[in-house]
């Protein structure tokens, strides 16, 4: 199966953002991200009080890699999946759950957020986000990028990497 493109747009994107925001409120987590299985950020929210987030690209890439490895581990043990992943350090923690087949929910939380709440509301949010991701896959918007886009991108590459 060729990996489908998960594209959030308009109402679906607004719903995903609202869900992430609500999850932050319910759990007390710092940052909430919806990412695809390839490791790209689709939507993210941070609590108003939270400090500057870590590099989101790296966070998403590592979380997606970790989730993929965990899924492979589950299969080795004859399980279809290990659905959620929790990492807890002294101060910070990470909760990752599957938002359907093609996306993941990531919550970054600190010691003030109760793990039980993070898991409870995290799971609910992941289920709702899975439905949103499903709708996005069913109705992807058409990307109308013309040759001008390619030419502009090529010019930037020339500038960056040399002619």
């Amino acid at each position: 199966m060729v990996e489908p493109s998960l594209v959030l747009y308009g109402d679906l994107y607004a719903r995903a953002l609202a869900l992430l925001e609500e999850t932050l409120r319910e759990t007390g987590a710092r940052y909430a991200l919806l990412i695809d299985r390839k490791g790209f950020v689709l939507a993210h929210k941070e609590a108003l009080w939270a400090p500057k987030p870590p590099p989101l690209d790296s966070l998403a890439t590592l979380a997606a890699g970790n989730a993929a490895a965990t899924q492979a581990l589950a299969k080795l043990l004859g399980e279809a999946r290990f659905q959620e992943l929790v990492h807890q350090g002294e101060r910070m923690g990470l909760y990752v759950d599957e938002a359907g087949e093609h996306a993941l929910l990531l919550l970054v939380f600190d010691e003030n957020a109760p793990l039980g709440k993070v898991k409870l509301y995290g799971k609910r949010a992941a289920e709702a986000l899975a439905r949103i991701a499903g709708e996005a896959l069913a109705h992807p918007p058409k990307l109308n990028l013309d040759t001008q886009y390619r030419e502009e991108a090529k010019a930037i590459l020339d500038e960056l990497l040399g002619n």
Binding site: S5, Y13, K38, L42, S58, G65, R150, A153, L161
Partner: protein
Amino acid sequence: MSTINFANREINFKIVYYGPGLSGKTTNLKWVYGRIPEGRKGEMVSLATEDERTLFFDFLPLDLGEVKGFRTRFHLYTVPGQVFYNASRKLILRGVDGIVFVADSAPNRLRANAESMRNMRENLAEYGLKVEDLPVVLQVNKRDLPDALPVEMVRAVVDPGGRFPVFEAVATEGRGVFETLKEVSRLVLARVGSGA
């Protein structure tokens, strides 16, 4: 398939450096990281063993900035080359948009090059992809070796059909590194909006 975030007006592409162990995949990324100005690159992440062999992957986000209203980014990955890390290699290929195959010019690595290409074909097939359907650039690295094999000989074992653009490189000195990256990026961009 690129990941498009319409709401944030972002387009992201995934480029994977593939090839046998010690062929120079990580060196390519390190060179790019060292030469790209701040603001155009993100943090480089390396998941490596103590002796600096890639364990899971290396990752480097490259930011072209805004192109026709879309923030355009290339996410560069390497795979671990050693034979026994195939599970990791397979995972990294998920959703790949373009591939740089880094071949080794050393005579005793000819078989490893061929084996790695075969392995790549197999792993892509698990995602329903064929090498022929993807932008692939062949980089023949380590051209500074005194006993480097002729490029055509290396090519004959990994790309007998002569399909892929070929670049000679000495990644430790940066020779051919940007040229290779530019070509694969150009090929990936050429597919945008073409429905491929």
